[in-house]
Amino acid sequence: MDFSLTPEQKEFKRSVLKFAKNELNRDVIERDHSSEFDWEGWKKCAELGIQALPIPEEYGGVGEDIVTCMLAMQALGYGCTDAGLLFSLHSHMWTCEIPILTFGSDEQKKKYLPRMAAGEIVGGHAMTEPGAGSDAYSLMSTAEKKGDRYILNGSKTFISNAPIADVLLVFALTDKTKGWAGISGFLVDKGTKGFIVGNPLHKMGLRTSPTAEVTLEDCEVPEECRLGREGAGSAIFNAEMEWERSCLFSSHLGMMQRQLDKCVQYAKDRKQFGQSIGKFQAVSHKMADMRMRIELGELILHKVAWLKGKGKKAHLESAIAKLFISESAVQNSLDAVQIHGGYGFMTEYEVERDLRDTIGGKLYSGTSEIQRNIIASWLGL
């Protein structure tokens, strides 16, 4: 098995890393405090071509493969300390661009993808409901067909990018009798009558990524807004989750490496009892474990990328990757705070924010418990 990167991939990763370090870390502490999205950073990412990565050239993208996408996201995770900006990028790319690319009609692709690739419009998806979280397919929102139009009704919550999105992929039941097999996806534009975005929700972490509730009140959309066939909602959702669980958590690995480098430097510089604290095994072993988790996380993500690059499904592997990396990121962040001691607890040292930002990783894209359910089901349990 060959894990080596091509010279082009190495250079690309280096260039993204340099860009992220230089361009995406403006006033992060302050914006985290005020929950402010970095539009300037978003536009700079678009200029570099980040949002265009997975989109083919014919739709205004650069058509990179999944390995290159993951490398870019890993580099962004290392260089950019604004995890909220990265989270919004992920929502835009994996839960809106990829579904349109995979399931969209040619008209839908032409309408949305070039502008999404250029960062001119922002996308996201709306699946979760007040009563449908881990049991995602138990949603209650409906899409009633009337002639050549659908009437959408229901409530969505925890919708990433909703306050800044120009288009959301909304999931609703077109056939209540079929349950999960009766779910369909709809591309709903901002400003559509009956499509109401609530005020931004305040969160523990990822504060610079706006989140809100969305209400659908007799929201009428033409049939052309349906993504894929009626009942294809679960297929769309599964496909986007595989991408999200792979690429989003590449950024986590980048963040974990940056965090570890910072810890190592601190452990060398910080002296207690007459020597660097890194000389104490109680400290150094923590960093050895942090390094081990990063290495194992990279390995499983490489496998996911390899499978998807071959056009194979990676449902089990992406669940394992998501579970392992999200939980490792929280543990590494706890260790980083502990290694930095009181300084790690202080906002200005930018150690504690990583912890707050990573906690959400155990919840979104399917909780840790749901990932374990998926893995257990593959064991025949």
Binding site: Y137, T177, W180, A181, A239, K313, H315, L316, S377
Partner: protein, 81 residues
């Protein structure tokens, strides 16, 4: 063994072992009866790849293609070409 029979055997032994194979007709809905849920379909797709060398693409991962054993067998036959 015919494609439909192989699929039926897998469903009734691996995915829904409580199901009586003799009572499962090839044209019976697997979705409305709860024999297949979204997770079982993912496992079934992996089986189709292993058994028949058939790779189901994301846009073919559609409930209509998994409504009945006949529908699944048709998908496999078409893809085997």
């Amino acid at each position: 063994m015919a494609v439909a029979d192989t699929i039926k055997t897998y469903i009734t032994t691996e995915l829904a072992p409580d199901l009586d194979a003799s009572k499962l007709a090839n044209d019976q809905s697997l979705l409305t009866t709860g024999v297949l849920d979204s997770l079982r379909i993912v496992k079934l797709i992996a089986f189709l790849d292993d058994e028949f060398g058939v790779e189901v693409t994301d846009d073919e991962f559609d409930p209509d293609n998994f409504e009945t054993i006949d529908a699944i067998a048709k998908l496999v036959e078409e893809k085997k070409g």
